[in-house]
Every structure is written in structure tokens, then in C-alpha cells.
Symmetry: C2
Subunit: 310 residues, 2 copies
């Protein structure tokens, strides 16, 4: 029985349902795997190595794509920190259930050793907030049709989930699962990128109040499947509870052969549109009543290992 | 610096912001802790021990409140299973990242030993679906004001996040974080409660396609902070990867002194309304621009340990 759960729920859970706009309602719809199998090479992009961070943990690799079109100064400062090997030997300091996993310098805390706080080197300690940016009509935009509780308009741009407010003319990357944000002090300009967090739960309320550095493309389970910290906000109480970061590198600084061969489905592609429609109206025997809607943070942007060059 | 993150983000992250409807915008708003400190005893309820499940894991206790007003036959069948100690020695079989953690009989799987599948005893193997119920005007209802992508109306009833469709006259418990659902086979009536899942991620698309058993009141981190399974849908590949369930008991079957002294804030109370408004319009120095909105699944219903009787 469970095996059949498995098959049915696989179609359901991993949003592998697809429904062409005019498909007969009685016919099970193709899966995401089938949609992606028909995708063209041009529908996939290889992230710029200047925007690709590799964070090596004892448990594996986390790959993050920076969002310089939304937060250029933060992307630049994070590159500077990474190139100085700032994050090497630092740690995951906080896992707050249903909210965020945060990493940075454990000594940069009241309980830490102030004398051992790591220098940011050539990187800036403060940055202009970049919480939002003026809507840029030159950036690709794939609007979602079902609305959003928080933003007047939502959709995808360059692979990122984005909220927009035509009234203010501003847009911002939304705090969906996998979004990487910049921790900061109370003052808006105090975020430097030296402490980052990944969204593992409900965090849309952070939208346009913090700068978004980018999105996790690979390795989310290594950040979401950690024990929650016992202290307020999920901080770990003892150093040995923290996961140590072996290293963080920029793909551009690695030999080409060592770079992650990752491709991301373009969010302005026909195949992505088919996946969104699948999420909305996909149906099969297990799941006869499709939601008919999909919310911004329930859409996963597909990532794949690129085929090695022939 | 991180310490100040901590304080600021505490107000932010744990949704401890509160803004009375007419508060001056320039004044930081009271925290949830302050709102709850002013709550009255009558605003808290003690769940019926007949609806309170205690699942003992090696890592601690998970407390689940059943939702018999929404799924009475499932609640009754789960009580029958628990009273036969059905779950004792079974396991968490699946953790799918950003979706669900599921527990049940590991042998009820293609890779399991069919000869060792545990009997459901006096419990039914199938049940009427109970995916939705007719809207009952006698049940308490606290509507949320900011809309929802999936349901025409959303709010809280008896502590549960609920979606409603006035057109169909139906309502259902929504698949928010902490909601406990009934795994089933392809056929709608094949859910018995012998395999349950807790929502740890984006799962609203399951709404009104599966029966909801109840909600986790305590111990979510013990279910959400587990390593994700390597198999499709997060199933574990090896038995030793599974967390074994020591026991599941019904509070009503325990000596009163051993029952969890848990109270839940009434979702039709003034203090709950204040917390919801705090989520919507709370602001402080860290968080100057409140969202002004809140979505159904971002609202936590407070749970506390009851003071021991004098």
C-alpha cells in the first residue's frame, strides 16, 4: 500500500503533475519529469561563475546563486569576503524552526570572544540596504496568475521569486524557501553579507525589510535538516552543536573542471510555464481535485547537472 | 552585533510584534510575550484528553491534538489504533524536504516484509474520506482579513487553520506547518490513520484531497529537524536511518498526573486577535515597514504549559 502511496504521492508531492491547458480532465497529466524531458537546451541557463557560491559543509555541498541584478553591492561585498576566505572555519550558528538557518562568526555574539571576531578585511562593514530596487523592464518577468497575500504582483525574474508593487515602482526577491538573506543589525545599512541566512520556513514577512543575497540551488536539506537550536531564535547553546563551514568559494575562482556543472531552467521559458500550470491544474488518480492555484513559494525552479561537454 | 541581531530579530522572527489598531506609528509595539502576559485564563483552553496524542521519540515528546469536529471517523480510528499500541515500535519512514515527515509501518512498503505488516486489529482499514466537511455555523470562526491564494476564505476554528468555500458550503483544515494528515492509497477511502504525516514545508496543494487528523502542539522540531531521506519522496533507504517510535498514547488513557499540562490559546479570543494584528502591522526599530498582511500559515497558535493546580 505504501508503495502505491509512494507513486501517487510522488506525482503529487514533488509537484510532478502537468496539465496542458486543453487536456481532457479524465486523462492523467504528464509529470514534471516528462515536461523537462521535452525541454530544449536553450531553456536552461548556466549561472555566471561570478554569481555561484560553493559552501562546503561536513555533510556536503551547498550551492548558492547570487542576485546582483537585485542586490549588486551585497553581491560584490560577499565576493570580496569569499575571496578572502572569510567564511572558512566559521559555522552555522542558528537554526530556528519554521524560519531560517543562519551562518557566520560565532564570536560575533554576546557569548562569543570579542577579541576573536574575524576581520572583514577589504569588505565593507556596512552597505546601502538594497531591500528593494526600481522595477527594471529590461529584466525578464514571468508573472503568476493567482495573486499573493503580501505583494500586489508576484512572479519570477532570472530564476528568483519576486514581489512587485507598481504603486511604488519597486520590486524585491521574496523570502521563499531557499532564499538567502543578509543578516543585519538594527540599522538598515548594517548588513554586510558576513552573516547570511537561508529561509527554511515561513518568512515572507521579511520581504523588503532585509537584503536578499540570492538563492540556494543545491543542498537545502543540509541546511533545513539540522537540529534546531535550543536558545531563543534557534541559536545553538554549545559550540559543538554548530556545523563548521569548511570553506566557501566562488566558482569563478575555481578551475573550470572543478566548478559545479549546474544549469537552471529559465523562468521565462515555455517549459517553466508548463510546470507552473502543472502545479495549478495537474491531476491524477490520487489527486482528482487540483488546487487550480499556486502560490509563489510553492514553485521550485528546476536545477540539473549539465551534461559534460562531448 | 549579532546579539543585537538577536534581540531585533527575536521581535521579528518569532512574530513577537504587536500593534494595537490605533498605536502611534513611531512607537515600538508590544511583543507577543507582552500580549500573552495580559491574556486571561478564560482565553486558554485545555485540549480534551480524548483528542491528545503523545508520541514518544528517542529525542523527546511530540504532542498532537486530533480534530474530531472536522474528521470524526479518523479521530475514532486513530484512538482505536493508539489504544492497541499499534504505533509502538513503528518508525518515521520518510522526510521529504520542504514537504512532509511521515510515520507508520516500514514493512508496509515494497521493500518491506509483507509477512510482518502489523495488523490494524479492531481499527478500520478504510474510512470515508472526510477531506472536507459542511461549514458548521456552531463552530467558532475567526476570519483572517488578507485573503489566501488557495481558499475563498481562511481563518481559525478550534485552534486549527481552516479554509472555506461558501460556494460549496465546505470547510477543511489547511495543510499549514504542523498540520497532521492521513496518508492514503490512490483510492480516497484508503486512509485509516495507520500512517500519518506532519507538514514541514509547502503543502497547501494537499488541501481537501487528504483527511487532516489534527495539529502538532508540541515537538515539531523533532519531526522537522531530521535528515531528509535519500530515496524518492524522502523515504529512508536503510532501516537504521529511521527514527523508531517508542510509543503513542492517548492522554485520556494516562493517569491525570502524567498527562501533558498543555493549554492552547483560544483562536476566538481577544489576545489571539491581537497577535494576528501584531503579525500584520507590528513594527519596531529593526522592522520599520510592517507587512500589513499575514497569511494563514504564518500564524502560530500559542501553546503553554498549564500552571500546576495549587
Amino acid at each position: 500500500m505504501l508503495r502505491r502511496h509512494l507513486i501517487a504521492a510522488l506525482a503529487l508531492a514533488s509537484s510532478l503533475l502537468a496539465l496542458p491547458a486543453l487536456a481532457e480532465q479524465d486523462k492523467p497529466t504528464p509529470t514534471a519529469k516528462e515536461i523537462l524531458a521535452k525541454s530544449t537546451p536553450a531553456e536552461w541557463r548556466t549561472p555566471d561563475p561570478q554569481n555561484l557560491l560553493l559552501m562546503q559543509l561536513p555533510t556536503g555541498r551547498v550551492v548558492i546563486e547570487l542576485a546582483p541584478d537585485f542586490t549588486p553591492r551585497h553581491a560584490a561585498n560577499i565576493r570580496t569576503l569569499v575571496r578572502s576566505h572569510y567564511f572558512d572555519g566559521l559555522a552555522i550558528i542558528r537554526v530556528q524552526d519554521n524560519f531560517v538557518t543562519q551562518w557566520g562568526d560565532p564570536n560575533d555574539d554576546e557569548n562569543g570572544d570579542k577579541n576573536r571576531i574575524r576581520s572583514l578585511g577589504k569588505a565593507s562593514k556596512t552597505l546601502p540596504p538594497e531591500f528593494t530596487r526600481a522595477i527594471d523592464p529590461k529584466l525578464p518577468w514571468t508573472a503568476l496568475p493567482d495573486g499573493d497575500v503580501y505583494a500586489p504582483e508576484v512572479g519570477f525574474s532570472e530564476g528568483f521569486p519576486v514581489g512587485r508593487d507598481p504603486a511604488s515602482g519597486q520590486e524585491w526577491v521574496a523570502h521563499c524557501y531557499g532564499t538567502v538573506g543578509v543578516a543585519r543589525d538594527v540599522a538598515p545599512e548594517t548588513g554586510s553579507g558576513s552573516s547570511l541566512y537561508a529561509v527554511i520556513g515561513q518568512a515572507r514577512r521579511l520581504d523588503h525589510n532585509l537584503a536578499v543575497a540570492g538563492r540556494v540551488l543545491e543542498g537545502m536539506p543540509l541546511l533545513s535538516g539540522l537540529p534546531r537550536g535550543p536558545e531563543p531564535m534557534g541559536f545553538y547553546a554549545k559550540p559543538q552543536q554548530r556545523v563548521t563551514i569548511a570553506s566557501v568559494r566562488l566558482a569563478a575562482d575555481m578551475p573550470a573542471k572543478d566548478r559545479p556543472a549546474i544549469q537552471v531552467l529559465r523562468t521565462d521559458s515555455a517549459s517553466f510555464a508548463a510546470l507552473v500550470e502543472a502545479k495549478r491544474n495537474g491531476h491524477n488518480a490520487f489527486y482528482p481535485k487540483p488546487a487550480g492555484k499556486v502560490d509563489l513559494c510553492s514553485i521550485d525552479v528546476p536545477v540539473r547537472e549539465a551534461k559534460p561537454a562531448p
